[in-house]
């Protein structure tokens, strides 16, 4: 148990931490604009087949991540539909850092969209009307009225993206592989450690690590949220 208390991180842990943070942050930041857009569309616009689109968006949520990863593989693999096309452009996604990010994005996207949608739905439409009467363009209304008022939801969506991605395992290992320094995030390193008898303490340390990160993320988001609320009320 003494290893448990070693303060410094081992090389393996550093690497996993770095990969995890990079993947999660990229995932959260890259998803954000799309999640905001999709959430807004679902909340404010009526179009044919909207319910189907929405249901479809939520598929990654209901499928075991391993399956999601497998489907991604089928699509983006060298022999896959998109993958073979991308190959001709010299782009290869599967089994790379990019794949880890993509897997995280796909898996966490429904959560982010849902948070944004829910928040936008609760934004008072009458304020958007008021902005329109003042001559604001759609974009201006969106960015100056809707987005700031839905901010708690957007923040929540961002955070969900980030944390879900921090914990993402199944899709990543299937689609991006478990490659040290490249796609071996904390959960994957944790898996590897758990696969090896006698590495319990390493596993525990990795677990604690991910908990610590999530704590920091939660506290930071809570702080931002509080500041926002203070601003508003």
């Amino acid at each position: 148990m003494s290893e448990l208390l070693t303060i410094g991180l081992t090389e393996v842990e550093w690497s996993a931490l770095a990969v995890s943070l990079k993947v999660s942050l990229l995932c959260a930041f890259l998803s954000l604009p799309f999640a905001v857009l999709a959430g807004w569309l679902l909340a404010r616009k009526e179009f044919r087949g909207k319910a189907v689109v929405e249901a479809f968006l939520h598929v990654p949520m209901v499928m075991p991540p391993v399956t999601t990863g497998y489907l991604l593989l089928l699509m983006f693999g060298t022999n896959g539909l998109l993958g073979s096309w991308l190959e001709t452009l010299g782009i290869r996604i599967a089994f790379s850092f990019d794949a880890a990010v993509l897997a995280s994005i796909i898996v966490s996207f429904p959560l982010a969209v849902r948070a944004v949608k829910q928040a936008v739905e609760m934004v008072d439409k009458r304020l958007e009307d008021a902005a329109e009467i003042l001559g604001a363009s759609r974009w201006r209304i969106f960015f100056a009225v809707t987005v700031p008022l839905a901010f708690p939801g957007i923040l929540s969506g961002f955070l969900l993206s980030f944390t879900r991605s921090l914990g993402e395992f199944g899709a990543t290992i299937t689609f991006a592989g478990n490659i040290f320094g490249e796609t071996r995030t904390i959960p994957l390193a944790l898996f590897s450690a758990m696969q090896t008898p006698g590495k319990e303490s390493e596993a525990f340390r990795l677990m604690l690590l991910s908990i610590v990160i999530s704590f920091i993320a939660m506290l930071a988001s809570e702080l931002v949220n509080r500041r926002y609320k203070k601003e508003l009320y």
Partner: protein, 363 residues
């Protein structure tokens, strides 16, 4: 254009039907009607944030809505500036940002002008929820003024404002109108405020326009009457000042070009000059008619005039008297009989200087 706004719409909301077919004249128009008569609904449709079921809307030559041609100009392109009854300030922005939301550099009306008029300088850094009801209402008015609308629509803009503020905002609106020739439509429950702004009224009842025209016409219009007779009648006129002199320690304001003995003895707080305009309002109930001048009475204004018409509405008798401008005088039937009043008769209108409400508009 003689009739710059044409509205012909129908809109069913639950069991309420709005069915308006009317012209709205240019200028300042007061919209008046009981609670729930469809005033706000009409303005929202004009602004373009609600749409009728059917019909056509043309404002100043632009077709905003036409069901049959499928025209539906979006609100942001209409420039119909509606100040909502409920304010609708943006809660996440400071008052300053709220004010500047629709403001573009080079706009005719300046920020400081509006801030000073509405007395909201001390609020600039506050958030709307930190402001009182009346403060929010003022900011909403200011925000709209600064967004350079082509038509200004105010839905109960004075409801939470005290007299002093009303008395400063009303002349300002008139000035803006004179300067930019911007049509202004004002919904208010206070007919007195409305009449200070304008003589042109549109009366609504039950989702319909039941009267449209000058106040004096409408007062005796059978349809509009049902709405107006719930209210106190008001004479409100805008008078140019041609001459000012001192009479018995009071200022006498001459409102006719030719010098005559008909002038107004008034206590005006402001220092007025020749050429300024005065809005005076006085209730028909506060004017007495007398066959001759009366001495030993505190009533200072005793203006000679001629009865141009005598009309009855319900139990009341209204004499229209020309004293250089036309005033309505309400008297009782018994007084009318006793004094033997007739059209064409010469008569004196007596009213106290203090019963005249005064607003000055400047030049």
């Amino acid at each position: 254009m003689s009739a710059p706004v044409y509205i012909d719409i129908r809109s069913q909301r639950g069991n309420f039907q709005l069915a308006v077919k009317t012209f709205i004249p240019d200028g300042i128009v007061g919209i008046f009607g009981p609670s729930g008569s469809g005033k706000s609904s009409l303005l929202k449709i004009m602004a373009g944030i609600e749409h009728p079921d059917n019909g056509q809307i043309i404002v100043r030559g632009r077709e905003f809505y036409n069901r049959s041609c499928k025209i539906k100009v979006p609100a942001r392109k209409r420039k119909m500036g509606l100040v909502f009854q409920e304010g609708r300030l943006f809660p996440h922005m400071s008052i300053r940002k709220n004010l500047l939301f629709g403001f573009e550099d080079g706009a005719a009306i300046g920020l400081n002008e509006v801030i000073d008029l509405l007395e909201i300088r001390h609020l600039l850094n506050k958030k709307p929820h930190q402001c009182s009801g009346g403060e929010q209402q003022r900011v909403a008015i200011g925000r709209m003024l600064l967004s350079s609308p082509e038509v200004l629509m105010l839905d109960e803009p004075f409801s939470s404002l005290d007299q002093r503020l009303r008395r400063s905002i009303i002349p300002y609106l008139i000035k803006i109108h004179q300067k930019y020739h911007m049509p202004i439509w004002v919904v208010s429950h206070d007919i007195c405020d409305l009449l200070m702004l304008t003589n042109q009224l549109m009366i609504m009842n039950n989702g319909q326009v039941v009267g449209n025209g000058s106040y004096h016409e409408l007062l005796f219009d059978s349809l509009a009457t049902s709405v107006l007779q719930q209210e106190d009648e008001i004479n409100a006129v805008r008078l140019p000042i041609y001459h000012i002199e001192q009479v018995n320690g009071m200022k006498a304001y001459h409102y006719q070009k030719q010098t005559s003995s008909n002038y107004l003895l008034l206590d005006v707080d402001q220092e007025l000059e020749i050429g300024d305009q005065l809005i005076v309002s006085i209730s028909p109930r506060n004017i007495s008619l007398s066959l001759h001048q009366v001495d030993d009475i505190s009533t200072r204004n005793q203006l000679a005039g001629e009865i141009t018409s005598i009309k009855e509405r319900g139990k009341k008798v209204f004499c229209q008297v020309d004293i250089g401008f036309s005033v309505l005088v309400e008297i009782t039937r018994s007084a009318c009989d006793k004094m033997g009043l007739k059209e064409g008769m010469n008569i004196y209108c007596l009213f106290k200087s203090s019963s005249v409400k005064i607003l000055s508009v400047g030049k």
